[in-house]
Amino acid sequence: MIPNSKNKIVLTKRSKVVSNKTMTWIERLYLPAIFQGMAITLSHFFKKEVTIQYPEVQRPVSDIYRGLHVLKRDDQGRERCTACGLCALSCPAEAITMIAAERKEDEMHLYREEKYASLYEINMLRCIFCGNCETACPKEAIFLTERFVPSQTKRDKFIYGKDVLVEPKDAPIDISKRQTPEVLAFKKDKTQSHNK
């Protein structure tokens, strides 16, 4: 017996009354339902695709897209990062960890300043890609690029160390896209002592 919905308290407009009605002979064949479903599937062959073939095809991103970080080197191939800790301080997600070390005499060609980051880690699961680290950096060392953080099957693979973050010496990573004219003008301003 179908319960009378008028006597029940209806909480939403979408509530449906469950019926235990037995199916007819046609319905038990399932064939009409199958053909109906196939027709819907078939109609999609003639519609515009909504998916793309990642990673062969990539979606265009904005010029100022904030993706995977890079730790830049200077003109002479020395690491710019001096482990000042301002990126970690400004990070709202507390994703950045670093340990500083003192540069030795024979490491002059590797690091630009007296102090360098011997360990620099970004937890990509924590990172929200806000770009505060890039803004905070006084040495123009860390930048966000339009690259993606690839998926992983293990959580600890998402903790990126210096081996991933520091740009390779022979293949510098272009970060010019995100740098607006105002930023570039500021960087050329020689009255700012960090440009010297």
Binding site: L86, A100, T191
Partner: protein
């Protein structure tokens, strides 16, 4: 008692008090900043010129103003003196110029410097300085000087405030460092390369307003704003034993004296407390140290806010 008015606020002080001390008694924004003056060190002050104020009325008997700005740390008050500090545009202007002069040869290597975050010069230039420099010449640099295993000395960062010299004179038996040469060639050095080794020599780290003298055992170990300062004490036979421990997790990264709101240490500590007792078990912890609300050391340290019951009368019901 002398009555003195500083920025329209009056206070009665003992004769012989300086304007700076009187201003500190009033407290608040009207206190002139000071880089070289240290209340625990005799004869300190009068070097850096950041505490300059304008005296618009010399005294009640002689109401003429003092024609030039005076260094408030060295000028004693007179009865009925009227002083202008932040209310005088001339003082604000002069202070901006002084900051520019102090920064002429300062390397601005704050990202590398261990003092960053608790540096008096950083605070001073942030509050009173400009955000760009007009100085285009080469900065003055010195050769590195090794002054021992405990204290790291960066002569480039020195602003020649003489505080460490007074500290070494007044706290230790034998001063082995001093200011050599004259004028723009002046530099702090030990002259004959000699290590500064004295039971109380570590205090020159605390009195240094910039990063010229830093703790070698803490060198590049961590940034101060990642550490949590805790007040602690121990029964030390040589000193007061009242210190601040700087923790990260359970580990003590460094030990310093307790700096007050003006960055001055009043209880000097010995080298054993400072450099050798970096274990929690050596100390009786008194509790977390209150840091000025604007300080970077407070960043990312969250505090529980107590909502007064007047604002939230339902608090008890809710809990």
């Amino acid at each position: 008692m002398f009555k003195v008015t500083i920025d329209n606020q009056s206070i009665e002080v003992e004769p012989g008090t300086t304007i700076l001390q009187a201003a500190r008694k009033i407290g608040g924004e009207i206190v002139p900043p000071a880089m070289c003056y240290h209340s625990e060190l005799k004869n300190s002050g009068g070097k850096c010129r950041t505490c300059m104020v304008k005296v618009v009325q010399g005294s009640a008997n002689d109401p003429r103003p003092i024609p030039k700005l005076v260094a408030s740390c060295r000028t004693e008050v007179m009865d009925g003196m009227v002083v202008e500090n932040i209310t005088s545009p001339q003082v604000v202007d002069a202070r901006k110029a002084v900051v520019e002069f102090l920064l002429l040869n300062h390397p601005l290597d704050c990202p590398v410097c261990d003092q960053a975050g608790e540096c008096d010069l950083q605070n001073l230039s942030y509050e009173h300085g400009t955000n760009a420099t007009r100085f285009e010449e080469e900065k003055r640099t010195y050769d590195k000087v090794d002054i021992g295993n405990l204290i790291q000395f960066h002569p480039n960062r020195c602003i020649l405030c003489y505080r460490c010299i007074y500290a070494a004179d007044q706290l230790t038996d034998n001063r082995v460092h001093g200011v050599l040469y004259r004028g723009e060639k002046s530099e702090i050095s030990t002259f004959i390369h000699q290590a500064i080794e004295n039971d109380f020599s570590g205090n020159i780290i605390d009195v240094c307003p910039v990063g010229a003298l830093t703790d070698k055992t803490f060198r590049f170990k961590n940034r101060v704003w990642f550490l949590k300062p805790m007040d602690a004490h121990r029964n030390c036979p040589t000193c007061s034993g009242k210190v601040t421990l700087w923790y990260r997790g359970d580990e003590v990264y460094r030990v310093t004296g307790r700096k007050d709101v003006y960055g001055e240490v009043h209880d000097f500590i010995c080298n054993e407390c400072r450099f050798e007792k970096k274990n929690s078990n050596d100390w009786t912890i008194e509790g977390p140290r209150t840091v000025a609300p604007y300080s970077v050391i407070n960043q990312n340290h969250y505090k529980k806010v107590v909502i007064p019951s007047v604002i939230n009368p339902l608090k008890e019901t809710m809990e």
